[in-house]
Symmetry: C2
Subunit: 108 residues, 2 copies
Amino acid sequence: MGFSKKHIFDEQQNQAALITKVLGHPARISIIQHISQNKCCNCNELVQNIGLAQPTISQHLNEIKKIGLLDQDAKGKNLFYSINVERLNDCRRVINDFFVKTQINCCK
Amino acid sequence: MGFSKKHIFDEQQNQAALITKVLGHPARISIIQHISQNKCCNCNELVQNIGLAQPTISQHLNEIKKIGLLDQDAKGKNLFYSINVERLNDCRRVINDFFVKTQINCCK
DNA sequence: TTTGTATATTGCAATATTACGATAATAATA
DNA sequence: TATTATTATCGTAATATTGCAATATACAAA
């Protein structure tokens, strides 16, 4: 198969899984960290810094955009990325909720 | 390709990515939640409750074991799973660290 | 307009993931 | 011992992911 049977799970479960799936690659973790550390970060800088080919970085950026974590600011031929902090907090909350609920259930 | 170039990333990045990758499937989120809610939960109960075939559940359980999140207790022919709460907290900490650091970088 | 720079898209190869039927392995019970 | 119940493993099909070369696109500067 290869595909996931998403319809048998609820909204929350699919949402948590989607967010963690996007984070579930070291390149994407690294990209997010690098963008957060460098206010004006374009694709080329990521390519230089991370050591993956430009199309690969572009592809990973697209995955990260899927959960709304990236803002873009086009300045001439440059495209500067930044983290959407609100969305970052949303994601953090969703994952934290999962951990909190799981832990509470375990310990009662 | 299909494989990830893990060697170009640091320990922390790979660790965060590994944990989130394991959590990045709704079936595994669901399995973890179900085990946490039911003290004595065996494979069969998960199969009944989640609606995936027994080999599929078994496979997902193996993925979750990769990050040490599951304890097993064999009672006769039954195998009862429970959450390793220490490991759960470890994972929570790793992911939380990622979010905290990213957020701090964004807002300075 | 031509050239150069930055990013996206396309196409493809290699590998990984997801799912399940069939079967094996293990242990309790009749 | 034969049967039954529970879980793991094997094999396989379908799909997804990862990575990159080649190419396209968009914009700025010469």
